[in-house]
Amino acid sequence: MRIALFITCVNDIAYPQTGIAVTRILERLGHTVDFPTAQTCCGQMHANTGYRAEALPMVHNYVEVFDRYDAIVTPSGSCTAMVRDQYPHLHPAAASVAARTYELSELLVDVLGVTDVGAEFAERVTYHPTCHGLRMLRLGDKPLALLRQVRGIQLVELGDPEECCGFGGTFALKNPDVSTAMLTDKCRRVLDTGASVLAAADNSCLAHIGGGLGRGRSGVRVMHYAEILASTGASA
């Protein structure tokens, strides 16, 4: 199966290791991954902050670049939700490519039918289900189903998992006090688990929680769960 990777702008610039992980997982499973270099950003920040007109050129670019692929995979719940939920309202021909755009766990579990991707990762990990993955994509148990098959992993449950971390894109900048209050509670929940790694399906949310955990010198690492799935124990 020929699969296109939509890396997302945040991952391209700041978290390339997540895209490398997605590529390695899929290639390990025998699939060919393509990275169309004409891709840019999905336009979520613009659309969600009230700049729909400014988001539209990105929407058009996405449809043009990805329309020829059978499946498009994205290591981001919120960018997938942007494409799937909002694109059909923003572009007349986006419905079909939107339906073929999958968050990584959807592609692995629903389309490819695998939960064991041959990973090994011997750390204590807790998982935060990010809001758009949880409530817009309804990812449910899929990322956890994948993580449970990882050899050596010690998965611990996060308290109040469904509660937002307070990131919300530009919300964190526009409402820094409320955002920080939410972040503090989320960090507390993470620390309560005693995990050394916090995993999630969105590096933007992880930049927020990880930024708080780092500020508190908590010693907890944040990782996109794709990086755990790509890990084979040989090298970190």
Partner: protein, 481 residues
């Protein structure tokens, strides 16, 4: 070419005096408030979830509730006239109020005509919205709130901070202090046991019920076919007001209609489970005009627009008019739980307030409210009439006035990101430009993050380290592999 007239916006206690982030700051820093809100919202949230999960056809009930309300919005003028005809035929007097000021004027005139110097009030959002108590006071009429929580708020010279639980920001010790200070007939040895507090309020209110000539209420539902009004409550104080005084004045938002009596079957299941987390609320009062010799003999209904027609004119935003004021969205909202209701500056706080207040007043008058959400979607999941609150928030953000610097930044980013070549060049430039800094931070702190950024990044770094670009972008890795 004809131009459609835009219906006027509303006024009253729906215009936030301060931007949400400013108003939220001291609330977030108040430990007592945070503890009270956390405890109360989590308790109600848990109760709601338990009684919703036990209903096998909850999804179908929500669909029905949403469909009935959408139908009402499609033919509101027709249904309003039908309601007026039916209520009038049953002996009620129907009044039409364009805005808050006109609604207050009508209630004041009716109270004067009844010779009242005091009125007893049933808990009502509409009368809070139009600031009726203040208008009555100006006309020399004292309004007594009889809902326990509204009474607490009124005695405390405060404003409600929650739709269902107006005094949610107080704990019982704080309530005892308000009673001791402001309730003349409160027993001096009053404890902070809920039972004792309720008993003190009961004794305090009983005399008001017996002496008042006029009661003022809102309505949860107004049935178009029959001219019937419905009030749903827990304490029975509403029932006292609705049955004892000679004159009853009900202030009703025009969106409160349901087409037929049978439609109540849907909402009387959705509302109590979503709001108090009860299978059924203790008191449901249903009345149609005047019943000779029983209950109020002078029945008035004031139908209030106050910006609702303007909301109705927006095909995306009008779903906010489906709201049945259950406040389930407040109780699950992580922003509400930390900021509290007063930060929203309107009688309608929380997620529903963030989409309703700006639409009633026009977005310019409440420009910060559509941004008072992370778009986490918890509100949409619990809404009993399926109002897609995140969708409306995003819609209103299109209409909100944008700060000049933000607009310039967004436009430049869009110009870069719409073009693959410019985008790739910008990524490379950002990576190269921050490379030495990132390497130095990595060496010195073990992480490629910054602990301080200038404005506007300072809003981020006040509590979080900020990530720097990676030493190699993904596309650079891809090209080299």
């Amino acid at each position: 070419m004809s131009q459609r007239a835009t219906p006027p916006h509303g006024g009253g206690r729906i215009i936030a005096p301060l931007p949400f982030p400013t108003a939220a700051r001291p609330e977030v820093a108040d430990p007592q408030l945070r503890a009270n809100l956390r405890r109360a919202t989590r308790t109600i949230r848990g109760k709601r979830q338990r009684v919703v999960e036990e209903v096998p056809d909850w999804a179908a009930l929500r669909d029905a509730g949403a469909a009935i309300k959408a139908d009402v919005q499609r033919r509101l003028p027709e249904l309003l006239e039908r309601f007026e005809a039916a209520a009038t035929a049953a002996g009620a007097h129907v009044h039409w109020a364009r805005d808050a000021a006109e609604a207050c004027r009508i209630v004041v005139e009716l109270s004067h005509a009844a010779g009242a110097t005091e009125v007893v009030k049933v808990k009502s959002m509409a009368t809070q919205e139009i600031e009726l108590n203040e208008a009555l006071a100006e006309a020399g009429i004292t309004a007594y709130e009889t809902d326990l929580a509204e009474l607490i708020v009124q005695l405390g010279d405060d404003t409600p901070s929650h739709i269902l639980v107006p005094a949610i920001h107080y704990n019982r010790t704080q309530i005892r202090e308000i009673f001791r200070r402001r309730m003349a007939d409160a027993p001096p040895e009053l404890s902070d046991e809920p039972r004792d507090l309720a008993e003190a309020a009961r004794m305090h209110l009983r005399r008001r019920f017996l002496s008042a000539k006029v009661a003022v209420s809102g309505a949860n539902f107004a049935v178009a076919d029959t001219g019937t009004l419905v009030v749903v409550e827990s304490e029975g104080n509403g029932r006292m007001c609705l049955t004892l005084p000679q004159t009853l004045i009900s202030v009703v938002g025009i969106e409160k209609l349901v087409p037929s009596f049978a439609d109540l079957e849907v909402f009387l299941q959705l509302l109590p489970r979503s709001s108090t987390g009860e299978r059924m609320n203790p008191y449901t009062s249903v009345w149609t005009g005047v019943t000779p010799g029983d209950g109020p003999q002078e029945v008035h209904i004031v139908l209030v627009d106050n910006g609702r027609s303007a909301v109705l004119a927006d095909p995306v935003g009008r779903q906010a008019l489906s709201c049945i004021r259950c406040s389930a969205c407040l109780n699950v909202c992580p922003v509400y739980e930390r900021a509290g209701g007063h930060a929203y500056g309107s009688v309608y706080p929380g997620p529903i307030g963030a989409i309703l207040s700006p639409q009633l007043t026009g977005v310019e008058a409440n420009a910060s409210l559509p941004y008072a959400s992370t778009l986490c979607g918890a509100c949409y999941d619990v809404c009993p009439v399926k109002i897609n609150i995140p969708e409306v928030l995003i819609h209103l953000r299109q209409q909100a006035p944008h700060p000049v610097a933000e607009r310039a930044a967004m436009r430049s980013l869009s110009w870069i990101m719409r073009n693959p070549r410019r985008y790739a060049a910008a990524l490379r430039a950002a990576r190269l430009g921050t490379g030495p800094l990132g390497a130095s931070r990595q060496r010195r702190t073990g992480a490629r993050t910054l602990r301080w950024l200038p404005w506007p990044g300072s809003a981020w770094t006040q509590s979080r380290d900020a990530p720097l670009p990676a030493p190699q972008t993904f596309r650079e890795w891809w090209e080299k592999r």
